[in-house]
Amino acid sequence: MLSGHQTWIFENKPTIISTGVVGGPFEAKGNIPKDFDILHEDMWLKQDSFEKAQQMLMEESCQIALKKSNIEKEQVQFFISGDLINQITPTSFAAKTIGIPYLGIFSACATSAESLALSAYLINSGGAEYILSGTSSHNATAEKQFRYPTEYGGQKPPTSQWTVTGAGCALIAKEGGGPVVTSATIGKIIDMGITDPFNMGGAMAAAAVNTIETHFKERNVDPSYYDLIVTGDLGHIGREVSLDLLKQRGLNIKDAQYVDCGLTIYREGQPVMAGASGPACSAVVTYGHFLNKLKRGEIKRMLLVATGSLHSPLSIQQKDPIPCIAHAVSIESGSDGL
Protein backbone atom coordinates (compact mmCIF):
# COMPACT_ATOMS: atom_id res chain seq x y z
CA MET A 1 0.00 0.00 0.00
CA LEU A 2 2.09 2.85 1.32
CA SER A 3 5.35 3.13 -0.47
CA GLY A 4 7.76 5.64 0.99
CA HIS A 5 6.26 8.58 2.81
CA GLN A 6 3.52 9.87 0.60
CA THR A 7 2.83 7.40 -2.17
CA TRP A 8 0.11 4.78 -2.37
CA ILE A 9 0.36 1.75 -4.64
CA PHE A 10 -3.06 0.34 -5.53
CA GLU A 11 -2.55 -3.40 -6.00
CA ASN A 12 -6.30 -4.15 -6.30
CA LYS A 13 -6.52 -2.12 -9.49
CA PRO A 14 -9.36 0.36 -9.03
CA THR A 15 -10.76 1.01 -12.47
CA ILE A 16 -12.19 4.08 -14.17
CA ILE A 17 -15.23 2.49 -15.75
CA SER A 18 -16.72 5.64 -17.24
CA THR A 19 -16.30 9.39 -17.44
CA GLY A 20 -18.46 12.44 -18.09
CA VAL A 21 -16.95 15.56 -19.59
CA VAL A 22 -18.85 18.81 -20.08
CA GLY A 23 -17.60 22.12 -21.47
CA GLY A 24 -18.69 25.63 -22.36
CA PRO A 25 -18.72 27.70 -25.55
CA PHE A 26 -15.08 28.76 -25.30
CA GLU A 27 -13.99 25.12 -24.97
CA ALA A 28 -16.09 24.24 -28.00
CA LYS A 29 -13.86 26.53 -30.06
CA GLY A 30 -10.76 24.96 -28.57
CA ASN A 31 -8.38 22.22 -29.53
CA ILE A 32 -10.21 19.11 -28.33
CA PRO A 33 -13.99 19.62 -28.78
CA LYS A 34 -14.42 15.98 -29.81
CA ASP A 35 -13.33 14.76 -26.39
CA PHE A 36 -16.33 16.38 -24.67
CA ASP A 37 -19.63 14.61 -24.08
CA ILE A 38 -21.60 17.85 -23.99
CA LEU A 39 -20.58 21.32 -25.12
CA HIS A 40 -22.83 24.19 -24.08
CA GLU A 41 -23.37 27.21 -26.28
CA ASP A 42 -24.41 29.41 -23.40
CA MET A 43 -22.20 30.46 -20.48
CA TRP A 44 -25.34 30.60 -18.31
CA LEU A 45 -26.68 27.13 -19.13
CA LYS A 46 -30.07 28.83 -18.88
CA GLN A 47 -29.54 29.35 -15.13
CA ASP A 48 -30.04 32.52 -13.09
CA SER A 49 -26.43 32.86 -12.06
CA PHE A 50 -22.99 31.72 -13.12
CA GLU A 51 -22.68 29.81 -9.84
CA LYS A 52 -25.82 27.82 -10.65
CA ALA A 53 -24.44 27.24 -14.13
CA GLN A 54 -21.34 25.72 -12.59
CA GLN A 55 -23.48 23.51 -10.37
CA MET A 56 -25.33 22.41 -13.50
CA LEU A 57 -22.05 21.50 -15.22
CA MET A 58 -21.09 19.27 -12.30
CA GLU A 59 -24.51 17.59 -12.18
CA GLU A 60 -24.45 16.89 -15.91
CA SER A 61 -21.01 15.35 -15.90
CA CYS A 62 -21.99 13.01 -13.05
CA GLN A 63 -25.16 11.99 -14.84
CA ILE A 64 -23.26 11.26 -18.03
CA ALA A 65 -20.69 9.12 -16.20
CA LEU A 66 -23.47 7.14 -14.52
CA LYS A 67 -25.42 6.73 -17.72
CA LYS A 68 -22.43 5.48 -19.69
CA SER A 69 -21.59 2.87 -17.07
CA ASN A 70 -25.11 1.51 -16.60
CA ILE A 71 -24.59 1.74 -12.85
CA GLU A 72 -27.54 3.04 -10.83
CA LYS A 73 -26.70 5.94 -8.62
CA GLU A 74 -27.93 3.96 -5.61
CA GLN A 75 -25.04 1.58 -6.17
CA VAL A 76 -22.50 4.38 -5.79
CA GLN A 77 -21.19 4.78 -2.25
CA PHE A 78 -19.49 8.14 -2.39
CA PHE A 79 -19.24 11.34 -4.38
CA ILE A 80 -15.85 13.00 -3.80
CA SER A 81 -15.54 16.41 -5.33
CA GLY A 82 -14.81 20.09 -4.84
CA ASP A 83 -14.25 23.38 -6.65
CA LEU A 84 -12.96 26.91 -6.19
CA ILE A 85 -15.99 28.98 -5.42
CA ASN A 86 -17.26 30.20 -2.02
CA GLN A 87 -16.95 27.24 0.35
CA ILE A 88 -17.34 24.89 -2.65
CA THR A 89 -21.06 25.59 -2.82
CA PRO A 90 -21.50 24.71 -6.52
CA THR A 91 -20.22 21.21 -5.78
CA SER A 92 -22.17 20.81 -2.54
CA PHE A 93 -25.37 21.94 -4.25
CA ALA A 94 -24.71 19.49 -7.06
CA ALA A 95 -24.21 16.79 -4.42
CA LYS A 96 -27.63 17.64 -3.04
CA THR A 97 -29.18 16.99 -6.45
CA ILE A 98 -27.20 13.83 -7.06
CA GLY A 99 -28.01 12.46 -3.62
CA ILE A 100 -24.94 10.28 -3.16
CA PRO A 101 -23.05 10.40 0.18
CA TYR A 102 -20.64 13.22 -0.30
CA LEU A 103 -17.11 14.16 0.68
CA GLY A 104 -16.31 17.75 -0.20
CA ILE A 105 -12.63 18.49 -0.74
CA PHE A 106 -10.56 21.51 -1.68
CA SER A 107 -7.18 21.84 -3.24
CA ALA A 108 -7.99 24.41 -5.94
CA CYS A 109 -6.92 23.22 -9.39
CA ALA A 110 -5.40 20.03 -7.92
CA THR A 111 -8.85 18.90 -6.77
CA SER A 112 -9.19 16.50 -9.72
CA ALA A 113 -6.14 14.48 -8.71
CA GLU A 114 -6.95 14.67 -5.02
CA SER A 115 -10.44 13.26 -5.54
CA LEU A 116 -9.16 10.57 -7.90
CA ALA A 117 -6.43 9.52 -5.45
CA LEU A 118 -8.83 9.38 -2.51
CA SER A 119 -11.42 7.45 -4.53
CA ALA A 120 -8.84 4.94 -5.70
CA TYR A 121 -7.62 4.50 -2.13
CA LEU A 122 -11.11 3.86 -0.78
CA ILE A 123 -11.92 1.39 -3.54
CA ASN A 124 -8.56 -0.33 -3.24
CA SER A 125 -8.96 -0.84 0.49
CA GLY A 126 -12.48 -2.15 0.12
CA GLY A 127 -14.12 0.93 1.56
CA ALA A 128 -16.41 1.30 -1.43
CA GLU A 129 -17.44 -0.40 -4.64
CA TYR A 130 -18.27 2.61 -6.76
CA ILE A 131 -17.17 6.22 -6.28
CA LEU A 132 -17.91 9.25 -8.37
CA SER A 133 -14.98 11.65 -8.38
CA GLY A 134 -14.68 14.89 -10.26
CA THR A 135 -14.55 18.62 -10.21
CA SER A 136 -15.85 21.67 -12.01
CA SER A 137 -15.02 25.30 -12.67
CA HIS A 138 -16.60 28.20 -14.51
CA ASN A 139 -14.70 31.05 -16.06
CA ALA A 140 -17.08 33.76 -14.93
CA THR A 141 -17.42 32.59 -11.32
CA ALA A 142 -13.66 32.39 -10.95
CA GLU A 143 -13.14 35.80 -12.55
CA LYS A 144 -15.75 37.28 -10.27
CA GLN A 145 -14.28 35.77 -7.12
CA PHE A 146 -10.56 36.05 -7.78
CA ARG A 147 -10.17 38.90 -10.24
CA TYR A 148 -12.55 41.55 -11.59
CA PRO A 149 -16.16 41.63 -12.76
CA THR A 150 -16.28 39.83 -16.08
CA GLU A 151 -17.08 42.98 -18.04
CA TYR A 152 -14.31 45.06 -16.45
CA GLY A 153 -11.66 46.09 -18.94
CA GLY A 154 -8.62 45.22 -16.88
CA GLN A 155 -5.56 44.18 -18.84
CA LYS A 156 -4.34 40.69 -18.08
CA PRO A 157 -0.58 40.26 -18.19
CA PRO A 158 0.92 37.57 -20.44
CA THR A 159 1.55 35.38 -17.38
CA SER A 160 -2.15 35.11 -16.52
CA GLN A 161 -4.27 32.06 -17.30
CA TRP A 162 -7.81 31.41 -18.47
CA THR A 163 -10.16 29.47 -16.20
CA VAL A 164 -11.85 26.56 -17.97
CA THR A 165 -15.63 26.39 -18.02
CA GLY A 166 -16.54 22.78 -17.60
CA ALA A 167 -16.71 19.73 -15.40
CA GLY A 168 -15.07 16.34 -15.54
CA CYS A 169 -16.19 13.32 -13.61
CA ALA A 170 -14.98 9.74 -13.39
CA LEU A 171 -16.76 6.70 -12.00
CA ILE A 172 -14.24 4.48 -10.21
CA ALA A 173 -15.11 0.85 -9.55
CA LYS A 174 -13.61 -2.18 -7.84
CA GLU A 175 -13.68 -4.06 -11.10
CA GLY A 176 -14.78 -3.66 -14.68
CA GLY A 177 -13.16 -2.78 -17.95
CA GLY A 178 -11.21 0.40 -18.35
CA PRO A 179 -8.08 2.30 -17.38
CA VAL A 180 -6.65 1.39 -13.99
CA VAL A 181 -5.44 3.75 -11.30
CA THR A 182 -2.16 2.24 -10.16
CA SER A 183 -0.61 4.69 -7.72
CA ALA A 184 -0.89 8.15 -6.25
CA THR A 185 1.49 10.56 -4.58
CA ILE A 186 0.01 13.15 -2.24
CA GLY A 187 1.94 16.39 -2.46
CA LYS A 188 2.88 18.80 0.27
CA ILE A 189 2.50 22.56 0.28
CA ILE A 190 5.35 24.31 -1.45
CA ASP A 191 5.68 28.05 -0.92
CA MET A 192 8.41 29.80 -2.87
CA GLY A 193 7.34 33.25 -1.78
CA ILE A 194 5.67 34.20 -5.06
CA THR A 195 2.88 36.71 -4.46
CA ASP A 196 1.69 37.52 -8.00
CA PRO A 197 -1.77 35.94 -8.49
CA PHE A 198 -1.42 36.59 -12.22
CA ASN A 199 1.50 34.16 -12.41
CA MET A 200 0.13 30.95 -10.97
CA GLY A 201 1.98 28.71 -13.42
CA GLY A 202 5.28 30.07 -12.19
CA ALA A 203 4.29 29.57 -8.58
CA MET A 204 2.86 26.06 -9.02
CA ALA A 205 5.78 24.68 -11.01
CA ALA A 206 7.79 24.21 -7.80
CA ALA A 207 5.05 22.06 -6.31
CA ALA A 208 4.82 19.99 -9.48
CA VAL A 209 8.56 19.39 -9.46
CA ASN A 210 8.51 18.33 -5.81
CA THR A 211 5.67 15.87 -6.31
CA ILE A 212 7.01 14.38 -9.55
CA GLU A 213 10.45 13.88 -8.02
CA THR A 214 8.95 12.23 -4.95
CA HIS A 215 6.69 10.04 -7.04
CA PHE A 216 9.54 8.58 -9.08
CA LYS A 217 11.64 8.03 -5.96
CA GLU A 218 8.90 6.41 -3.90
CA ARG A 219 7.35 4.36 -6.69
CA ASN A 220 10.86 3.44 -7.71
CA VAL A 221 10.39 3.89 -11.44
CA ASP A 222 12.09 5.87 -14.16
CA PRO A 223 10.42 8.69 -16.13
CA SER A 224 10.58 6.46 -19.18
CA TYR A 225 8.03 4.19 -17.43
CA TYR A 226 5.31 6.66 -18.44
CA ASP A 227 4.34 7.48 -21.98
CA LEU A 228 3.07 10.85 -20.82
CA ILE A 229 3.52 13.00 -17.76
CA VAL A 230 0.46 15.23 -17.75
CA THR A 231 0.60 18.34 -15.58
CA GLY A 232 -2.61 20.11 -14.64
CA ASP A 233 -2.49 23.76 -15.50
CA LEU A 234 1.07 25.04 -15.43
CA GLY A 235 0.73 26.91 -18.71
CA HIS A 236 3.69 27.99 -20.84
CA ILE A 237 5.72 29.47 -18.02
CA GLY A 238 5.11 26.79 -15.43
CA ARG A 239 5.78 24.00 -17.90
CA GLU A 240 9.09 25.46 -18.96
CA VAL A 241 10.17 26.20 -15.38
CA SER A 242 9.23 22.75 -14.10
CA LEU A 243 10.72 20.86 -17.03
CA ASP A 244 14.01 22.72 -16.72
CA LEU A 245 14.08 22.13 -12.98
CA LEU A 246 13.32 18.42 -13.36
CA LYS A 247 16.11 18.07 -15.91
CA GLN A 248 18.43 19.93 -13.56
CA ARG A 249 17.60 17.44 -10.84
CA GLY A 250 18.66 14.59 -13.12
CA LEU A 251 15.26 13.28 -14.22
CA ASN A 252 15.42 12.34 -17.85
CA ILE A 253 12.10 13.61 -19.16
CA LYS A 254 11.71 14.13 -22.88
CA ASP A 255 10.04 17.26 -24.19
CA ALA A 256 7.30 15.38 -26.04
CA GLN A 257 6.64 13.23 -22.99
CA TYR A 258 5.84 16.21 -20.78
CA VAL A 259 2.44 17.71 -21.63
CA ASP A 260 0.18 20.20 -19.85
CA CYS A 261 -3.61 20.10 -19.77
CA GLY A 262 -3.68 23.91 -19.76
CA LEU A 263 -1.82 23.94 -23.06
CA THR A 264 -3.84 21.10 -24.60
CA ILE A 265 -7.41 22.31 -24.24
CA TYR A 266 -7.25 25.51 -26.29
CA ARG A 267 -6.02 26.36 -29.75
CA GLU A 268 -3.24 28.79 -30.55
CA GLY A 269 -4.79 32.20 -30.99
CA GLN A 270 -7.47 31.93 -28.35
CA PRO A 271 -6.93 34.80 -25.90
CA VAL A 272 -5.82 32.65 -22.97
CA MET A 273 -2.39 34.24 -22.40
CA ALA A 274 -0.14 31.64 -20.69
CA GLY A 275 -2.69 28.79 -20.90
CA ALA A 276 -5.75 27.41 -19.21
CA SER A 277 -6.33 26.82 -15.52
CA GLY A 278 -9.09 25.96 -13.08
CA PRO A 279 -10.04 22.67 -11.44
CA ALA A 280 -11.96 21.61 -14.53
CA CYS A 281 -8.88 22.05 -16.71
CA SER A 282 -7.05 18.91 -15.59
CA ALA A 283 -10.30 16.98 -15.01
CA VAL A 284 -11.75 17.70 -18.44
CA VAL A 285 -8.55 17.11 -20.38
CA THR A 286 -7.57 13.97 -18.49
CA TYR A 287 -10.98 12.31 -18.37
CA GLY A 288 -11.74 13.36 -21.92
CA HIS A 289 -8.70 13.73 -24.12
CA PHE A 290 -6.04 11.59 -22.43
CA LEU A 291 -8.24 8.70 -21.33
CA ASN A 292 -9.51 8.49 -24.90
CA LYS A 293 -5.90 8.23 -26.03
CA LEU A 294 -5.34 5.51 -23.47
CA LYS A 295 -8.41 3.63 -24.63
CA ARG A 296 -7.33 3.92 -28.26
CA GLY A 297 -3.97 2.45 -27.25
CA GLU A 298 -1.96 5.49 -28.29
CA ILE A 299 -0.49 5.60 -24.80
CA LYS A 300 -0.25 2.89 -22.18
CA ARG A 301 0.73 4.68 -18.99
CA MET A 302 0.29 8.24 -17.89
CA LEU A 303 1.01 10.22 -14.75
CA LEU A 304 -1.44 12.99 -13.98
CA VAL A 305 0.12 15.75 -11.87
CA ALA A 306 -2.63 18.26 -11.06
CA THR A 307 -1.33 21.47 -9.55
CA GLY A 308 -3.21 23.97 -7.40
CA SER A 309 -2.45 27.37 -5.95
CA LEU A 310 -4.20 27.62 -2.62
CA HIS A 311 -4.57 31.36 -2.23
CA SER A 312 -7.72 33.37 -1.69
CA PRO A 313 -8.50 36.95 -2.73
CA LEU A 314 -8.13 37.84 0.95
CA SER A 315 -4.71 36.24 1.37
CA ILE A 316 -3.47 38.04 -1.72
CA GLN A 317 -4.62 41.39 -0.38
CA GLN A 318 -2.93 40.64 2.92
CA LYS A 319 0.27 40.14 0.90
CA ASP A 320 0.69 36.47 1.77
CA PRO A 321 2.69 34.41 -0.71
CA ILE A 322 0.84 31.76 -2.70
CA PRO A 323 1.02 28.25 -1.22
CA CYS A 324 0.99 25.62 -3.94
CA ILE A 325 0.30 21.93 -4.06
CA ALA A 326 0.49 19.10 -6.59
CA HIS A 327 -0.95 15.59 -6.40
CA ALA A 328 0.12 12.84 -8.78
CA VAL A 329 -1.99 9.91 -9.88
CA SER A 330 -0.85 7.28 -12.34
CA ILE A 331 -3.37 5.82 -14.78
CA GLU A 332 -2.48 2.77 -16.86
CA SER A 333 -4.35 0.70 -19.38
CA GLY A 334 -6.02 -2.32 -17.83
CA SER A 335 -5.22 -6.00 -18.32
CA ASP A 336 -7.84 -6.27 -21.05
CA GLY A 337 -5.91 -3.69 -23.01
CA LEU A 338 -8.57 -1.08 -22.58
Binding site: D48, S49, F50, E51, K144, Y148, P149, T150, E151, Y152, G153, G154, Q155, K156, P157, P158, T159, D191, M192, G193, I194, N199, G202, A203, A205, A206, H236, I237, E240, V241, D244, L245, P271, A274
Partner: protein, 159 residues
Protein backbone atom coordinates in the same frame (compact mmCIF):
# COMPACT_ATOMS: atom_id res chain seq x y z
CA UNK B 1 10.72 47.10 -0.48
CA UNK B 2 10.33 44.05 -2.68
CA UNK B 3 14.05 43.36 -2.39
CA UNK B 4 13.91 43.56 1.39
CA UNK B 5 11.12 41.02 1.42
CA UNK B 6 13.09 38.69 -0.79
CA UNK B 7 16.02 38.69 1.63
CA UNK B 8 13.84 37.19 4.33
CA UNK B 9 13.08 34.17 2.16
CA UNK B 10 15.06 30.96 2.45
CA UNK B 11 17.82 30.69 -0.17
CA UNK B 12 15.94 27.87 -1.88
CA UNK B 13 12.97 30.13 -2.54
CA UNK B 14 15.24 32.96 -3.67
CA UNK B 15 16.94 30.65 -6.15
CA UNK B 16 13.60 29.39 -7.38
CA UNK B 17 12.26 32.90 -7.88
CA UNK B 18 15.31 33.86 -9.91
CA UNK B 19 14.97 30.63 -11.91
CA UNK B 20 11.29 31.33 -12.47
CA UNK B 21 11.77 34.98 -13.40
CA UNK B 22 14.19 34.00 -16.17
CA UNK B 23 11.43 32.02 -17.82
CA UNK B 24 8.57 34.36 -17.06
CA UNK B 25 7.05 36.03 -20.10
CA UNK B 26 7.84 39.71 -19.70
CA UNK B 27 5.15 42.29 -20.19
CA UNK B 28 5.68 44.10 -23.50
CA UNK B 29 5.98 47.50 -21.81
CA UNK B 30 6.81 49.56 -24.89
CA UNK B 31 4.11 47.99 -27.05
CA UNK B 32 1.59 48.35 -24.22
CA UNK B 33 2.52 52.02 -23.85
CA UNK B 34 2.03 52.64 -27.57
CA UNK B 35 -1.37 50.93 -27.48
CA UNK B 36 -2.34 52.87 -24.35
CA UNK B 37 -1.25 56.11 -26.00
CA UNK B 38 -3.25 55.49 -29.16
CA UNK B 39 -6.45 54.28 -27.51
CA UNK B 40 -6.28 56.77 -24.63
CA UNK B 41 -5.57 59.57 -27.07
CA UNK B 42 -8.44 58.44 -29.25
CA UNK B 43 -10.88 58.45 -26.32
CA UNK B 44 -9.79 62.00 -25.40
CA UNK B 45 -10.14 62.98 -29.05
CA UNK B 46 -13.72 61.69 -29.01
CA UNK B 47 -14.21 63.63 -25.77
CA UNK B 48 -13.00 66.79 -27.49
CA UNK B 49 -15.35 66.13 -30.40
CA UNK B 50 -18.31 65.71 -28.07
CA UNK B 51 -17.44 68.79 -26.08
CA UNK B 52 -17.01 70.88 -29.26
CA UNK B 53 -20.37 69.59 -30.40
CA UNK B 54 -21.94 70.77 -27.13
CA UNK B 55 -20.27 74.17 -27.43
CA UNK B 56 -21.44 74.73 -31.01
CA UNK B 57 -24.95 73.36 -30.86
CA UNK B 58 -26.00 73.70 -27.23
CA UNK B 59 -25.91 76.33 -24.56
CA UNK B 60 -22.55 75.30 -23.09
CA UNK B 61 -19.27 77.16 -22.74
CA UNK B 62 -15.81 75.60 -22.67
CA UNK B 63 -16.14 75.63 -18.89
CA UNK B 64 -19.55 74.03 -18.65
CA UNK B 65 -19.27 71.58 -21.56
CA UNK B 66 -17.10 69.27 -19.41
CA UNK B 67 -19.96 67.77 -17.44
CA UNK B 68 -22.24 66.77 -20.33
CA UNK B 69 -19.18 65.44 -22.15
CA UNK B 70 -18.35 63.21 -19.19
CA UNK B 71 -21.93 62.02 -18.93
CA UNK B 72 -22.06 61.25 -22.66
CA UNK B 73 -18.80 59.30 -22.52
CA UNK B 74 -20.08 57.27 -19.58
CA UNK B 75 -23.32 56.60 -21.41
CA UNK B 76 -21.34 55.22 -24.36
CA UNK B 77 -19.30 53.19 -21.87
CA UNK B 78 -22.48 51.66 -20.49
CA UNK B 79 -23.42 50.37 -23.93
CA UNK B 80 -19.92 49.07 -24.65
CA UNK B 81 -19.75 47.39 -21.23
CA UNK B 82 -23.21 45.86 -21.51
CA UNK B 83 -22.54 44.39 -24.94
CA UNK B 84 -19.26 42.91 -23.71
CA UNK B 85 -16.99 45.08 -25.85
CA UNK B 86 -15.25 47.22 -23.26
CA UNK B 87 -13.38 44.35 -21.61
CA UNK B 88 -11.90 43.44 -24.98
CA UNK B 89 -10.83 47.02 -25.59
CA UNK B 90 -9.34 46.94 -22.10
CA UNK B 91 -7.29 43.83 -22.79
CA UNK B 92 -5.85 45.53 -25.86
CA UNK B 93 -5.40 49.05 -24.54
CA UNK B 94 -4.59 48.56 -20.84
CA UNK B 95 -4.33 51.97 -19.23
CA UNK B 96 -5.50 53.54 -22.49
CA UNK B 97 -9.06 52.56 -21.68
CA UNK B 98 -8.71 52.47 -17.88
CA UNK B 99 -7.38 55.97 -17.21
CA UNK B 100 -9.98 58.05 -19.09
CA UNK B 101 -13.26 58.66 -17.29
CA UNK B 102 -14.72 55.86 -19.42
CA UNK B 103 -12.56 53.47 -17.41
CA UNK B 104 -14.06 54.82 -14.21
CA UNK B 105 -17.50 54.34 -15.72
CA UNK B 106 -16.60 50.82 -16.83
CA UNK B 107 -15.44 49.94 -13.30
CA UNK B 108 -18.76 51.09 -11.82
CA UNK B 109 -21.02 49.68 -14.54
CA UNK B 110 -19.29 46.30 -14.85
CA UNK B 111 -19.54 45.80 -11.06
CA UNK B 112 -23.21 46.79 -11.16
CA UNK B 113 -23.98 44.31 -13.94
CA UNK B 114 -21.90 41.55 -12.39
CA UNK B 115 -23.60 41.62 -9.01
CA UNK B 116 -27.12 41.81 -10.41
CA UNK B 117 -27.55 38.12 -9.55
CA UNK B 118 -27.19 38.99 -5.85
CA UNK B 119 -30.14 41.39 -6.01
CA UNK B 120 -30.43 45.11 -6.61
CA UNK B 121 -29.92 46.37 -3.06
CA UNK B 122 -27.22 44.12 -1.63
CA UNK B 123 -25.79 43.05 -4.96
CA UNK B 124 -25.78 46.04 -7.29
CA UNK B 125 -26.06 48.65 -4.56
CA UNK B 126 -23.28 47.54 -2.29
CA UNK B 127 -20.84 46.23 -4.89
CA UNK B 128 -21.17 48.96 -7.48
CA UNK B 129 -18.30 51.00 -6.09
CA UNK B 130 -16.16 47.97 -5.26
CA UNK B 131 -13.58 48.87 -7.88
CA UNK B 132 -14.14 52.59 -8.24
CA UNK B 133 -14.53 53.27 -4.53
CA UNK B 134 -10.85 53.91 -3.78
CA UNK B 135 -10.74 56.49 -6.57
CA UNK B 136 -13.56 58.45 -4.95
CA UNK B 137 -12.27 57.96 -1.40
CA UNK B 138 -8.70 59.06 -2.03
CA UNK B 139 -9.72 61.63 -4.61
CA UNK B 140 -11.87 63.32 -2.01
CA UNK B 141 -9.38 62.95 0.80
CA UNK B 142 -6.39 64.23 -1.16
CA UNK B 143 -8.49 67.07 -2.56
CA UNK B 144 -9.46 67.91 1.01
CA UNK B 145 -5.82 68.05 2.10
CA UNK B 146 -4.75 70.08 -0.93
CA UNK B 147 -7.63 72.54 -0.59
CA UNK B 148 -7.06 72.81 3.16
CA UNK B 149 -3.38 73.65 2.77
CA UNK B 150 -4.12 76.08 -0.03
CA UNK B 151 -6.89 77.83 1.89
CA UNK B 152 -4.68 78.18 4.96
CA UNK B 153 -1.80 79.49 2.89
CA UNK B 154 -4.09 82.08 1.30
CA UNK B 155 -5.44 83.03 4.71
CA UNK B 156 -1.97 83.55 6.13
CA UNK B 157 -1.07 85.55 3.06
CA UNK B 158 1.71 83.20 1.92
CA UNK B 159 0.27 82.98 -1.60
Amino acid sequence: MADKKKKNLPPEAQNYQAFQEEREVKRPVLLNCIKAFLVGGFICFIGQLISTFYIYYFHFTEQTAGNPTTATLIFITMLLTGFGIYDRIGQFAGAGSAVPVTGFGNAVISSAIEYKTEGFILGVGSNMLKLAGPVIVYGVFSAFLVALVKTLLIKWGVI
